[in-house]
Symmetry: C2
Subunit: 293 residues, 2 copies
């Protein structure tokens, strides 16, 4: 209210962009997958000056003639070889058909996460980054290393991030001393945390868990995704009943697995993703007091 004399058109057209120092725009991608019953993120080892040898999210500068979505898809392809179906900036999940298909038949979901523009976030210059979030099925170990020299899947739990629901209380002993545990470059820990939180939430009300598995999949595999991302065990019979009761979540593909489980059990029926974009009713996590307040 102190500078009432400034009127609104100035903010839309009166300011010449040349009056301000250049702002660089980058795109970073949080690629999540589930391996060995744990949530993993794709990281690259930085070889250059700021934060050298630290792990970072894959990303790069926005090019002159590409949109943010295109830049994110390009970064994802460069690092993983996967083609992406982008959901754009809309709040909705993308329709099943828009998901890209890679050589291995992998479907990749890619959506915008958020933008980060703290003046201090890059020591070199002013950089605003738009982060994207991708859900990939478990890829062959080789995949990550083929295109990107220093890339690796790192368990999210090994990064010493604040626990799922206490990011306010940052005081938490970081026990692991592995190299992956070193703090991420820039503000990438914050970005990753936002991505993981978004992922957890989206499993509740969208069918995106199916983006973490390859089709056809069993209900046990799908349940494994929920258990890994939410980090809590689920009741197999109830999970089954719930999933099948949500219209359009999954649809039976007819057959069964070739063999039963590794330690016995009958062959599981196979499913593929249905045509629902939203789950009704949603797969609700049990209310945790810390998460609610």
């Amino acid at each position: 209210m102190t500078d009432d004399e400034r009127t609104e058109p100035e903010f839309l057209a009166g300011y010449s962009p040349g009056d301000y120092p250049a702002v660089a725009v980058t795109v970073d991608v949080v690629v999540l997958t589930v391996r060995d019953a744990a949530l993993h993120v794709l990281l690259v080892r930085r070889g250059e000056h700021p934060y050298r040898d630290r792990w970072a999210l894959p990303g790069g500068f926005l090019r002159p003639d590409e949109s943010l979505d295109e830049a994110a898809a390009r970064e994802l392809a460069d690092e993983t070889g996967l083609t992406a179906g982008t959901a754009g900036t809309a709040a909705k999940a993308d329709p099943p058909g828009s998901a890209g298909t890679a050589p291995g038949g992998a479907r990749v979901h890619l959506e915008q996460l958020a933008s980060y523009g703290d003046p201090e976030r890059d020591p070199r210059m002013r950089v605003v980054t738009t982060a994207y979030l991708a859900f990939a099925p478990d890829l062959p170990e080789a995949r990550a290393g083929s295109d990107a020299a220093g890339a690796a899947w790192v368990p999210v739990s090994a990064l010493g991030l604040p626990a799922p629901d206490d990011d306010a209380a940052g005081a938490r002993p970081v026990r692991q001393a592995r190299s992956a545990t070193r703090r991420l470059a820039f503000d990438h820990a914050r970005i990753l945390l936002d991505g993981v939180e978004r992922c957890r939430a989206k499993l509740e009300y969208t069918p995106l868990a199916t983006s973490f598995v390859t089709e056809p999949f069993t209900l046990a595999e799908l349940r494994g995704v929920y258990e890994a991302v939410w980090d809590e065990p689920l009741h197999p019979p109830n999970f089954r009943r719930k999933v099948l009761s949500v219209p359009g979540f999954v649809e039976s593909v007819g057959g069964t697995t070739e063999r039963g489980g590794p330690r016995g059990g009958p062959r599981a029926a196979l499913y593929r993703a249905g045509d629902a974009r939203l789950l009704h009713p949603p797969m609700l996590r049990t209310a945790t007091e810390e998460r609610i307040r």
Copy 2:
């Protein structure tokens, strides 16, 4: 996979930002409020060259030493005189205490919406904008016009946007011929649509409906917010039972209104927002086939 020779560090540090044309970063704010039982958005009339005389979202260039959140709060304050509590980029709703308070006791919720970077979105130059979403209580009519010359609250329904849940099917007769109906500048219609969709969704699982009313409020007022935003009538008794059963959504403040309703009826009890950040269980809309698929 065609340019396998490019390795990952190039994308993080190998590209000199000077190699690319400058990108301007702006911030736009979708300020929503409920007036006369209808959802309204704050728009400004453009006085300058591209899209002159069109309505646009309030916004402006990011300044050298401010974060995106700060820029959005500044724009919001310039246009409405309201101080904002920013939820930042996190997925969570902000705690009740962080909401700003304006002279009139108004609480304003401000959160990041999404970023838009299509190369063609501004005819003048390359502009990437980060959109924010604000929920304001109903403000005195004078408020909008005081600081911003050409600002006005415009009913969202008067803008000829695609209907809530058929943005794919764009063919829809636009009947209103009022000046407000002219298409918004730039891609602001798309941004507004995303904001409205986000708003609708957030009423389901967060207590943000309380950001649209001034404390203390009655349950009828709160119900009016849901009805205006969702554009569907709700059963008063069931709404009441549901709201009161969600822990931390609202808490009784003790008294009642001075008078009954304008057309009769007893005095309503008064409430204020509780300390919940998420609603458990959520206030679910009835499943609409179009929204789900």
